[in-house]
């Protein structure tokens, strides 16, 4: 689903944010990308939804070379990719419902489809009762779930989350991560960039470690590649 072929990214006048990355992520996989701040995690995600283009190498998403896409094709790539951010990026002047519906409205979806699908995803993230609330009336966890609902509403093939638990308490963070994990079980490829090691340890899944822009480890906890759920030793509540 996502393939990095010898990808390097260098921002103007600075050192390499990513260096010679080779990585292949299959459909329906749940992958953590971990590493300290500045390791290149966000850059890696940004290359997938073409917020950036690599300096060298190729990024292939769903069979398409992302850096070769004509700018007019980029919106259509992004309709298949949901993105969740640490700072939520919700529109403060819109309600929960409007924030989520917005993602479908701008793509010209039918009003009936929007109503049906928004209700579905708000049910999925447990926000059905908060549809009329504005972001500032929500807790951090609720805001992040709204953000997740927005990312999911267009039924994307890929879900990217950049430090999604950064502004959440550990318990809410683990709940959110579980929700992301459940989404991957439905066939969506989920890539989560995080430096919350405790949360990563709680899940038995593939972990890609970056440091100073280099991929230094790619393992799958006990030899498994693909979603395997919560690690037995991490306790059942995660």
């Amino acid at each position: 689903m996502i393939e990095f072929r010898d990808v390097s990214k260098r921002y103007q006048g600075s050192i390499y944010a990513l260096s010679d990355i080779d990585l292949c992520i299959q459909k329906g996989e749940f992958v953590f990308v971990v590493g300290p701040s500045g390791a290149g995690k966000s850059t890696l995600l940004r290359l997938v939804y073409r917020a950036d283009v690599p300096t060298t190498g190729q990024v292939i998403v769903d069979g398409r070379n992302v850096n070769a896409l004509h700018p007019s094709q980029v919106p259509f790539l992004r309709r298949n990719i949901g993105v969740v951010f640490q700072d939520f990026k919700l529109l403060p002047s819109r309600t929960v419902y409007e924030n989520v519906a917005f993602a479908m409205e701008v793509t010209g979806a039918r009003p009936n489809d929007i109503r049906r699908r928004v209700a579905q995803v708000l049910d999925l993230v447990g926000l059905r009762q908060r549809v009329r609330a504005f972001p500032q009336e929500l807790s951090g966890g609720e805001q992040q779930r709204t953000c997740l609902a927005r990312a999911m509403v267009s039924s994307p093939k890929i879900l990217l989350a950049d430090e999604p638990t950064g502004n959440l308490d550990p318990e809410t963070g683990t709940q959110l991560m579980q929700a992301l994990f459940d989404i991957s079980l439905l066939g969506t490829t989920v890539v989560v960039a995080t430096h919350a090691q405790t949360i990563v340890d709680a899940f038995r899944t593939r972990v890609v470690r970056l440091e100073k822009g280099c991929l230094i480890r790619d393992d799958s906890h006990g030899g498994y590649w693909g979603p395997r759920g919560v690690h037995p030793e991490a306790g059942g509540d995660a």
């Binding site: 700018p71 919106p75 309709r79 993105v83 993602a103 701008v106 979806a109």
Partner: protein
Amino acid sequence: MRLLRYCVRESGVGMRRNAFLSLATVFTAAVAFFVLAVFLLGAANLNNLIDHVERQVQVSIYLKDGASQSQRESVIAAVDAVDGVRDVTFVSREDALARLRNSFGDNAALLEGIEEFNPLRDAVEVQMADADAVSAVVTAVKGNAAVDEVSYGKELVARLITMTRALRLGILALAGLLGFATLFLVQNSVRLSVFARRDEISIMRLVGATDGVIRLPFVFEGMALASWGAIVAAIAVAIGYTWLTRTVGRSMAFVPVLPAFGILSGMLPLLVIFGALIGAIGAMLALRRWLRD
């Protein structure tokens, strides 16, 4: 169609949510369009004044004594064929004397001595529409055997031509400059509105909205706000100019002022259309930065 409806609705929502900013944009646009409209009205009146002065330019072609009627007609035909000539009249020496007597009024007695030996000549008087064409008139009759002398205040006409050309060029340049200034002002106001909603734009891009869908609500908004600005300016200009023409008409009737209805009915709708256009261009320019990949 759904997307178009969405864009129209969003432009309305955008203006409501940023009501203060929208009002500020309308006000700024109104001031800019008002200045532009006042300048254009001034320019149109100045142009009218130049036309008026040019129409005062007259060329007198004096004919030789004994010029035949056919020679006379050939002079008139030659002058008539020149572009920029408004009127050609033949004035016989008798008519010229009668006119002179008339202009002397009560002092006509002074002319008694010369009436018997009328020293005046037959003449063809040419009223110009365009002072520039005077030299063409002179060329047209030059060398005609019946023409004795051509008189037209050579230096005055030359100065007038230079002055009117400079004035018209100046008006054109200033109108262009003011047009750009208006575009700049309106664009800056729309840019503020775009800046206030930059997060919305980045999210729209993130969820896969095409540039057209992102742009259109802002373009509609820019058009609506700038048009409202132009409408406010048009109303203010209409009231002000109507009052001005009435006042000038009453106290300075000799000043040629263009009638209010004629010029306003032509100019103000154009101002509103220009407003909408500038609003659209302003919005597109303001969005460029946020739509860059």
